[in-house]
Subunit: 572 residues, 2 copies
């Protein structure tokens, strides 16, 4: 299974032809006798093509390189069609007036609005920076489609259901296993949470974004940035991939059916490109249905071809997935109860919320779903019982980024859900109990500032058995902040301690937080470079002292980790 | 209000630039130094552009003319992106190998598969035929989008609700009014069914496709081929337009909310381009929501940008519209009960059915919806109670075309729904009563052949008070068939009589059939040329004799007519 990159497929060939055919005909083309060579660009940018502002041109080989870099580094925020979302619109009409030198500076140095410093950080060399500055001034090539038939062609069952173990591995507390994303090597590590041993390293798609569990917990589902899904059976003595499929060319989210009677029946993948929901059979990953999420955004009702699927969560109380359509600003409740083997009816409640929807999670009761809408610093709140928007709540922070958020029951304010922000240093606590605490319901009841200037928080985590809330800040340019975890007290909201990374891992970033099953250990990824090693740091939740350091030659670039039990039960 | 044609808007300008920019660069372009002028064609046809197969080129002026002709004559069957549906795919990859001369012959002479003889019939002159043969060999220009904001900009309330009559016009049997489409002049005639007088001629969109009524019946909603919607108030002494909006650039269907408690609250428009459902307020046509219908087709799960909305019907028993997504082969049940003022939740049941869905209607009980799926000569049947597909029934005929179909209760077979076929001469009767007549349910229980060779039937009609079923065949090349109406007996299914058009209207086509409110008259359009006059012919349903001929200097190209009462009650 190929590890990475967007599959450009036939479109690459077509574009290669296109570039040759279009030779010599920028706006300064060599003739003016009209021909029928209409760009036919559905993005409506016909006529904006040509070279960069200063006439610099790209060779076919440069185009191929630039497309891959763009997918790896730029598409997530700017979109494959470059219309923007988390990042601004960078279509040629926007970029050409800026000129190549200006664009190079932005790409190299980053901006204080969130653009990473790709050159300065060493991710891109000077040649790449120059290439990308020119690439974003020419029309985006047409990204390839990916049909249900394509998905089916890519589908493999490596271990048929009947040949899989019929019982969990004896003597193992498999519900306390962790799946750890090894981002830059396209693998996932399975670690026994009791023994702290790496028990398996399993190939996955490129830069896995998240892991989710089956309703039973026996399977991990991984979703790669390249849309590859793998199914890892944790009941095997040495957990391994039992099925795989490529569900899209670019994807971020996956979950399974959790409602009673449908446990483990379906999985759903959220595509970035093509923008789709793809439904798979839960135990084999066989693709059975694909649904477009291209739709009209909520502001002016403009068609958005690239209306991508951000977070998906599975409703425990209804046979429904909550699917967040980022650029559309819509939340779709997708009912799978009449889907059958894929031939049946899919019911979708389309709810107007806010742009751009990103990540989110349940409140304590699992009735309300809260999701970041980072275009306007809001959190959109859905009542899954009435299937309606509760409100779009202004967080007072910049670009909320909750992951799934953190739930606690405060002695005074009652149940709260917390989010950090990638664009500001505050942690926002929102009341989620309209019955017991109506005065606080769906309001910001508390704000806490993390130490240091700017840089924001990426992930936040707690556990019902813990008295603490943990916050990382791996994106901070100050390494002494980027490698630290900030601990808040659940009752007082005070900054109680900063967990420091051990000396040997200085220079690594401390990223992503996960509790063990019992909720008495907090695990943190020490994210090193691909050429070095990473580690998992285990802190005692009571003493806040480092309890264990998990290292392994194969534990390269760990960037996220998921405990089986807490993932099954949506404990966060 | 402009009468006709696709609004190409900004895209026209962009394309003009595009053509100039692309000057001289067909596949035989004048240089080969690669530039970034990627066509970026989302249709994936990058590199197929250039002139026609024999090198013939189109001027910018020719492109403008060709685009309009294409919209008027070709897009309905081949699609604006030319990917085909009712007609075959005619993208350049399909057309260029055929060559200009071959294409001219097809366009001029038509085919026995349903392509009209555009040249021979005099619709297009030799120059137009030549132009279109060349036009379809170059990449289709990007059709313009149409946002909710655009819709709102086009919206006009000509007579506010408060200023409209509060009671029906005294002494008028307004529920027996007819609205008559005057296709080629962009108007609608309102005729009093009792007096047979033309009481009003009202401007409309271009080539109105259908009229529908509000739940109360007081309003006619018209939908033009150019997406223009007009609302005609029948309670005015002289019925006139009270509101209008352009809901799409190309559209075919409209209906209103009919469920108890929602009467007249909403209207829904089905767009061909952009492919959308647009929801309007029922009494003002204010646009409040737009939903994309671009989706994955049922065969191979391939994305179809141009997945158009064919028929829409309003469910009387649920707060739901039945919306047929032609190229996707999906039937969507759209629940408007939580929509509010447009800000609320829209619920869509997406049901896999068959391609290409066209037109259809209710069975007698209004529980089952039957719709032509003309790619495979089937009728798809939906149970709106269980919200599931009953079956895709093979009709045994070629390209079923029911309009809304014709319902009867047969003494032996029980309730039946009938359809004709545009591609064959048979009328197909399908059982629709699974409880009372389970042996016949959703099977073809009877086939009747209409006289003459080929040419098919376009519309079929009956009424509960009638003993007859009426069939037109206006597309038949034999004028003695095209100007006749064939009457079948409801019990014996025998061909009882052929109604002939009066001598003075010979050469006109007899098209579309509608009963009066009492169900004792059948009205037929005598469809003449734009330069001449048309007429409405009224036949007595009992005697089958011509009872009245309605003429008027303004009654030009009547092609369809709708009785208020029968439309409100879905009697057909």
């Amino acid at each position: 299974m190929g590890l990475r990159r967007f599959t450009w497929l036939a479109a690459s060939a077509a574009l290669a032809v296109g570039f040759v055919a279009a030779s010599g005909c920028g706006p300064q083309g060599s003739g003016n006798k009209p021909v029928g060579n209409a760009p036919g660009n559905a993005a409506g940018t016909a006529g904006t093509g040509g070279g960069a502002a200063d006439g610099a041109l790209l060779s076919a080989a440069e185009m191929e390189t630039a497309k891959d870099i763009y997918f790896d580094r730029c598409a997530g925020c700017h979109g494959v069609l470059r219309k923007g979302a988390t990042g601004p619109n960078i279509e040629p009409a926007s970029t050409k007036p800026k000129g190549t030198e200006y664009l190079k500076k932005i790409i190299n140095d980053g901006t204080d609005k969130g653009m990473p410093e790709w050159g300065k950080s060493g991710t891109l060399n000077a040649q790449d920076v120059d290439l990308m500055a020119r690439y974003i001034q020419v029309d985006p090539p047409a990204p390839p489609e990916w049909s249900l038939k394509d998905m089916k062609s890519s589908h493999k069952v490596l271990v048929p259901v009947a040949q899989r173990p019929s019982a969990p591995p004896p003597g193992r507390n498999w519900q306390n296993y962790f799946g750890v994303i090894l981002r830059d090597v396209g693998k996932v590590a399975i670690i026994d949470g009791d023994t702290k041993k790496v028990i398996s390293i399993v190939k996955s798609g490129f830069a896995v974004h998240i892991l989710r569990t089956s309703a039973s917990g026996r399977y991990f589902y991984t979703i790669g940035r390249d849309g590859r899904v793998t199914l890892i059976d944790l009941w095997m003595e040495k957990p391994d991939t039992v099925a795989e499929v490529k569900a899209a060319n670019d994807a971020r989210s996956i979950d399974t059916s959790k409602f009673e009677g449908f446990e483990d029946k379906y999985a759903i993948v959220g595509g970035y490109w093509p923008p789709v929901m793809a439904v798979l059979k839960g135990d084999t990953l066989e693709p059975i249905r694909v649904i477009s999420t291209s739709s009209y955004e909520i502001d002016e009702g403009t068609f958005v071809r690239e209306a991508r699927v951000a977070a998906i969560v599975s409703d425990h109380h209804h046979p429904t997935w909550v699917v967040n359509i980022k650029e559309a600003g819509q939340i779709w409740l997708v009912d799978y109860s009449k889907l059958g083997d894929g031939e049946g009816t899919v019911s979708i409640d389309q709810i107007r919320a806010e742009r751009f929807l990103h990540d989110g999670g349940w409140d304590t009761s699992k009735r309300y779903f809260l999701v970041a809408a980072n275009a306007r610093n809001k959190v959109s709140i859905i009542d899954t019982q009435s299937q309606k928007l509760v409100k779009n709540l202004d967080t007072g922070g910049v670009k909320p980024h909750p992951g799934r958020g953190a739930n606690l029951v405060h002695p005074q304010f009652g149940p709260l859900w917390a989010t950090g922000h990638v664009g500001s240093n505050d942690v926002t606590f929102i009341g989620t109990d309209p019955d017991g605490h109506p005065d606080n319901a769906f309001k910001v009841v508390k704000k806490v500032q993390l130490p240091g200037d700017g840089g924001g928080n990426l992930f936040i985590k707690t556990h019902p058995n813990s008295q603490h809330i943990y916050c990382d800040r791996p994106l901070h340019p100050d390494v002494t902040l980027a490698d630290s975890i900030f601990v808040l007290d659940k009752n007082s909201f005070e900054h109680k301690k900063t967990l420091t990374i051990p000396e040997q891992f200085r220079g690594h970033k401390a990223v992503h937080l996960e509790f063990n099953k019992d909720g008495n250990e907090i695990w943190v990824c020490a994210w090193g470079k691909k050429s070095g090693t990473g580690a998992i740091l285990v802190y005692d939740d009571k003493t806040l002292e480092l309890k264990a350091t998990i290292t392994d030659p194969e534990l390269v670039t760990p960037t996220g980790h998921f405990n089986v039990w807490n993932t099954v039960k949506d404990i966060y």
